[in-house]
Symmetry: C3
Subunit: 265 residues, 3 copies
């Protein structure tokens, strides 16, 4: 039986090269009824951290049973393992290089399978394109209802992504910009919960020597062209400009320090 | 019952950020069988006029019953109303900020509903992402066959988009470039009908001090590298270069003046 | 009966303009159940050779019966013929301008039909947009099971794409870069088979005065930042940089000469 299970794709393939088409063809050759949904193919080539972040902020909105394939895989064909991760709600397929670890923080992982059974791969596996020859076909077989345990051997744990975390102190939280979106909004690693306790007092958000007064609800909560700090749609503190680009206005990039602190009287 | 009604998306989300994936996930979580077709996600951030133009030139080619979702929404969470517009052929869902008004010029509007019934929204509605939390879910419920009248209260009229219009005089029409496509073709606001009466005489098209002799049928109707004026596939006068870019050759941008006039003897 | 036959699209439309949406709408208006898969829309405007290469490297991964539509069509409305090509496995629809000839090298062509029957076109055919008004609707009718022979008159042969080919000599093969992918990998026209006989001896790959020692299996087969020559996923020799861009490192473009030769002792 052919099932219409959803397969999402998050890659750094770009949208011009034949790679994406080849991978989709490869999926559809296993399950012609597979429903493929692009999350993105515009991850900076090889930037696992960026891919992990985009996947983390998108995957949970899909219906249970969705198969999330991630391919940001600069070590393709090398030591990193191709894996299938089953959680209470979803399946994840891709390289075990940290790409999935942020998404899994709030997921209940049931098992991790090292993909070793070549019956689920393309007949010929290119050492440089596992998206087309391993991850795509595996996802397609999963979409047909194949049991995850048949794809390989169960292993313990997956690779993490080490990195700086926001630092909470008395009356302040210090974090940094981790992503800049296409509107030029500066997305930080400071989450809503990190600053909840501060918000009973008047607070300020400090970035690049500028102090923003409090946190607003919407981009249009400040005047046109003005800077605003707000909790974005992913629950993270972001710095934006109403009808403009905070990236341009501040000349800020990924890594820029951001602090939230209770205002001094 | 799940229906395969088509939902199109026209947004300024770009193709890299998690926003598009989250919105698609949100739609599919309401109707896993929804068929989502991208019109574009590359509208210049916040450029309602540009979004309106692309939507206008694409929507009418879809089959009747299609649900067109538009999200170019710089005022998200502010005063502009989220709306559902039902016409004789289509449904439109998005912010009431002018985005749909050009598309509706030739449509028979049956009713406009202010989206107020939260049963059709996501459980939590981010003040900065109505695409994911209101417009997507509403479109998905519509795709399942929900009656438009149940989504909120009926209102009169929608926001328009004021702007310059072509000026018709005796023997001439003066307009301007309103869009530049990816080929570098300069698309104007002068429509085929605007210049029909002039075409019984020899005419010229004037832009940036250049005079183009008459209107040709195809890009290849002039020599390689030469400028051509023609009626493009959307019925508008455009200025193009055969196998080249009129934008580059002329150094012209949106707003550039263009005139069509009967040639002096 | 409506069938879910797959239609792929390879165009130079870009992703912002209304053209792609209009073409998809046009397909879905003929067959609302058509399954459209994008190969790419990012071909450099009018670059038939580039479009042909991307299509060639992607089409064969799709399931038999897939309808491949290609629209890189700078001569639209002019002398080139709109065609339908039936091979043992696939159908191809688009302009007869060389776009399909590389893909067909290894396909068994059964017949070529000059598309002349207007019953399968849109009611109005724009002279500048056959993608929307001819190729899209024709593909949609094919997806409904229409017999290829009904679309027009059978013709002999299609246009080719002349160009340089790799030159094999005693102990060496000389070729050139034909495509640069989004990772900055330099893809050459030298195929795996071209250099098979050389590989019994130690070989070197020469580009821009640099000599690369032998051919590695994977990008990570050399140190980070180092140049590598390898057989890419399409079976062609490529020059890459591990975790970097060969395009940037070498300052090389399409047309750059590349040689593979047996090392001198």
């Amino acid at each position: 039986m052919q099932m219409e299970r959803i397969i999402t794709l998050t890659t750094d393939f770009g949208l011009k090269d034949p790679y994406l088409g080849a991978m989709k063809g490869s999926i559809l050759s296993v399950n012609a009824a597979a429903r493929i949904v692009d999350i993105t193919h515009m991850i900076t080539p090889g930037d696992i951290r960026e891919g992990a972040l985009v996947l983390k902020d998108a995957f949970a909105y899909f219906p249970p049973g969705t198969i999330h394939v991630g391919v940001v895989d600069p070590g393709v064909g090398g030591a990193r393992r191709p894996v299938l991760i089953e959680t209470a709600r979803f399946l994840f397929v891709g390289p075990d290089n940290g790409l999935f670890s942020p998404a899994l923080e709030k997921e209940k992982v049931l098992r991790v399978i090292h993909l070793t059974d070549k019956r689920f791969f393309s007949k010929t596996v290119s050492p440089t394109f596992h998206g087309r020859d391993i991850f795509g076909p595996v996802a397609a077989h999963l979409s047909l209802g194949a049991d995850p345990s048949g794809f390989g051997v169960s292993i313990e744990g997956i690779e993490g992504l080490a990195g700086p975390e926001p630092k909470r102190e008395e009356g302040s939280v210090a974090g940094s910009v981790i992503y800049i979106d296409s509107y030029g909004n500066l997305i930080t690693d400071i989450e809503e919960g990190d600053i909840e306790s501060l918000r009973s007092s008047p607070i300020e958000v400090v970035i690049k020597g500028r102090s923003l007064d409090g946190i607003v609800e919407t981009y249009s909560g400040v005047e046109e062209g003005a800077l605003a700090a707000l909790i974005g749609s992913s629950g993270r503190l972001e710095v934006a400009v109403n009808l403009g680009s905070a990236q341009k206005l501040l000349g800020a990039g990924v890594g820029e320090r951001v602090a939230v602190r209770v205002k001094k009287r």
